[in-house]
Amino acid sequence: MPLVVKRLLAVAPTVLVVATVTFLALQVIPGDIAQVMLGVDARPEDLARLRREFGLDRPLVLRYLEWLGHLARGDLGTSITYREPVARLIVARMPVTLSVAFAAMVVAVAVALPLGIVAARRAWSPGDLAVLAGSQLGLAIPTFWLGILLLLGLAAAVPLFPLQGYAALSADPVEWLRHLTLPAVALGTERAAALVRLVRGSVLEEMTRDYVRTARSKGLAGAVVLRRHVLRNALIPVLTVAGLQLGYLMGGTIVIEQVFGLPGLGRLLLQGIYARDLVVVQGAVITIALTFALLNLAVDLLYTAVDPRITYD
């Protein structure tokens, strides 16, 4: 498919820009890996020695080009703090973050879609107002706080769910689901709150269209009109936003991974920043950027499935 190829080619410069900005940003913020590693025990001569051994004393441009050269060969480098290849670290963490992001998206869509449709059908009724108020609340509650509340209630006080950690899907699907439930609810609630407004607005807008009036005047039942005609059209913007949100969730899991002790990409990234471990940060950011771009592409391709009028030539 030429479109896919074209779009894939467009991903490369995006990733390059992201990589460059990350590289430069990490040069600008104060502190380097040697400093963080030695902490308050740092003696000036030790700092100088470690910087030399880590290659931090070489010119910026040289280090950048070298890293880029490795990247082009698919080598993300070896972390100084972890003493492990970054690619290995990322591969171990991708399933965790993808699982959390997808599960949160499932929660968000499962909550937002029915609620948004019901609210739109009964616009400005008490039920609709309750949904709107609930959405406001959902947006206002910080995810980490909701996460801690869920943990204290459903993992500690009533031990229905595990308190911390992650179980691989391949090892035990039930455990995998149990470990994901609370993080997905915590993270998905906020996304649902945002999405429900979009669903409601979009459905409301479609329902005022002429074709809806025509369908009704043909004698079609309200629910059939909604299902066959309104939803198809109303869901296109929802799909776009949901797709983008999935990408957003890839980076947005940082906080929730911290609360639930999930060994995901977000935590790797955060620790990489704290430790000033450039190769780890670069690797994680590039992975997130790449996933984001690929998800976007997937959403674009999905349009054609939802709306046959959309074609890419």
Binding site: I29, P30, G31, D32, Q35, V36, M37, L38, G39, V40, A42, R43, P44, E45, D46, L47, R49, E53, F54, I80, T81, Y82, R83, E84, L89, A92, R121, I148, L151, A155, A156, A157, P159, L160, F161, P162, L163, Q164, G165, Y166, V174, E175, L177, R178, T181, A221, G222, A223, E257, Q258, V259, G261, L262, P263, R267, L268, Q271, Y274, A275, R276
Partner: protein, 510 residues
């Protein structure tokens, strides 16, 4: 609009959801139940970066490594150095030659028997620049290492270095096997030592599962079959897990959570005075702060007990010298500058420093220091000093405040070291300490302490230096906080070695 949606599919979905919820809840039953007697679950605040003991300087790494490796010597509960892999040792009269007799029949996890070659290879690895060890300079005094016979190893130092023995007892003195070093083994993820446990599973940032090493050199130890260390950054989650019985022990209880934890009959709180000294550091190179009267005025202005009580916990102990109270090198002197705002104002006006405005940098990862900073700000306000607090990220604090000296005041805790030289080295020499404190006499005393091996003489030297420092008030010493850990009621011998800030599970039972 009439609801005309067919009922069938919706009902089926509801049923499916109910079944799913029930299945998840049923699978969740064991979460709060007791774990088996020989399996111990410990919640630790963070994850090690690497399991290579020579590749890190992180406390969290050594807290795990202690169970995987042994050192030639180790600290006991009082911080005294006692034999471990070395049965005994002698020092030559000039203090330059250290000879260690190794314990026979000690095995590494992969089966090899420990000999002098392993010790030699270990320390040659850490001083090798290719290892890129952050702790290499601790061993800079070593000139040569010789395997005299299979169980005797001799270190020859290039200069007298009294902290040498203490250095060998630290986590980065862990002994690795020579054959794997030669093969460039990846210790970072597959550690092999002589320690009481081996790694069965490691999920970075989540958990590490240690299982008993049956060939451990101490008969009958470790007593646990498995230690599961979970890395739990959120303190609320740690406490909840302990109270629910999911964790057998947790590494720290925030002092605000203490009443709740103490009220639970199934849980025991362990109190341990730490080796930390928390201070309000003063940049002695700033023109206004160069005057000792101004620095003393800061002491008089700050109600140290109030700061300790509110920010660091009721039981924190004030210190009057720059040494932790549990150290054998601590000297007890009366509070040199008791809380007295009136006197502070007088000293400030004598020094012509009325209406002073000072920057107060507070490190973001430490909420307690930030809280202390707010109290200090209010106290300084009362004597006419305007402190401008700014909270800074840790990397920023390290590079700009600590290394760069871009601050007037900052609040930080100094961790203890097994040897007093670790805490004091560099003070007196302005370019070698972050408060830019200058006093050639103190500098000389600290250098003398470094090469003095006679313990009594050493104590006297450091006591002198500590008193002189108190006189100069290069910083306001606040005090030593108490660390609270907690275990389930049945846990015995959960050991925390304050001197090297690590945990020892060898004798632990539950």
């Amino acid at each position: 609009m009439r609801p005309t949606t067919p009922r069938g599919p919706a009902a089926r979905w509801r049923l499916a959801l109910l079944v799913l919820a029930a299945a998840l809840a049923a699978a969740g039953v064991p979460a709060g139940a007791q774990t088996p007697r020989d399996r111990f679950t410990f919640a630790l605040s963070g994850s090690p970066d690497t399991l290579d003991p020579q590749g890190t300087a992180a406390t969290l790494a050594f807290q795990v490594n202690k169970s995987l490796f042994d050192t030639l010597v180790e600290p006991d509960d009082e911080g005294r150095i006692v034999p471990s892999l070395a049965e005994s040792w002698t020092v030559s009269p000039d203090g330059l030659t250290w000879t260690f007799k190794l314990r026979p029949n000690v095995r590494f996890h992969h089966g090899k028997t420990l000999d002098a070659g392993d010790v030699k290879a270990t320390f040659e690895r850490i001083v090798n620049p290719a290892t890129r060890s952050p702790k290499r300079s601790d061993f800079a005094a070593i000139r040569s290492i010789e395997a005299v016979d299979p169980l005797t190893v001799r270190f020859v130092l290039g200069e007298r270095f009294a902290p040498f023995l203490a250095t060998l007892a630290q986590g980065w003195g862990a002994i690795l096997p020579a054959d794997l070093i030669a093969r460039n083994h990846e210790f970072a993820t597959r550690p092999v030592g002589t320690g009481p446990f081996t790694v069965a599973e490691w999920q970075r940032d989540s958990l590490i599962r240690l299982t008993r090493f049956d060939g451990y050199w101490i008969q009958g130890e470790p007593r646990l079959r498995e230690v599961l260390i979970r890395f739990v950054p959120e303190s609320a989650v740690k406490v909840a897990g302990l109270l629910a019985g999911e964790f057998d022990a947790i590494d720290a209880v925030a002092f605000l959570d203490l009443p709740r934890v103490r009220a639970n009959p199934n849980v025991r709180v362990i109190r341990q005075v730490t080796s930390l000294v928390n201070v309000v550091a003063i940049n002695n190179s700033r023109p206004a702060l160069r005057d000792v009267r101004v620095r003393r005025a800061l002491w008089h202005a700050i109600d140290r007990r109030q700061v300790l009580r509110t920010a660091y916990g009721e039981e924190s102990v004030p210190v009057n010298v720059f040494m932790d109270v549990v150290s054998p090198y601590y000297v007890s002197i009366p509070d040199p500058y008791p809380y007295d705002p009136e006197r502070a104002r007088r000293l400030l006006s004598e020094a012509g420093a009325g209406g002073l405005t000072l920057d107060l940098a507070l490190p973001q990862p430490y909420p307690a220091h930030i809280e202390a900073g707010q109290l200090v700000q209010a106290m300084l306000q009362r004597v006419g000093i305007t402190a401008r607090p700014r909270v800074v990220e840790w990397g920023f604090w390290l590079s700009r405040v600590f290394a760069g000296g871009e601050y007037d005041l900052t609040i930080i805790g100094h961790t203890g070291k097994l040897d007093p030289d670790g805490r004091l080295a560099g003070y007196g020499t302005p370019s070698r300490n972050y408060v830019r404190y200058e006093n050639p006499k103190v500098e000389d005393l600290i250098l003398a302490g470094r090469i003095t091996t006679n313990p009594e003489l050493r104590k006297r030297i450091y006591a002198e230096a500590l008193k002189m420092m108190a006189e100069d008030a290069p910083m306001v010493y606040l005090g030593t906080p108490v660390l609270y850990m907690a275990t389930r009621q049945g846990v015995r011998n959960f050991r925390q070695l304050y001197a090297i800030d690590t945990f020892d599970f060898r004798k632990t039972t539950k």
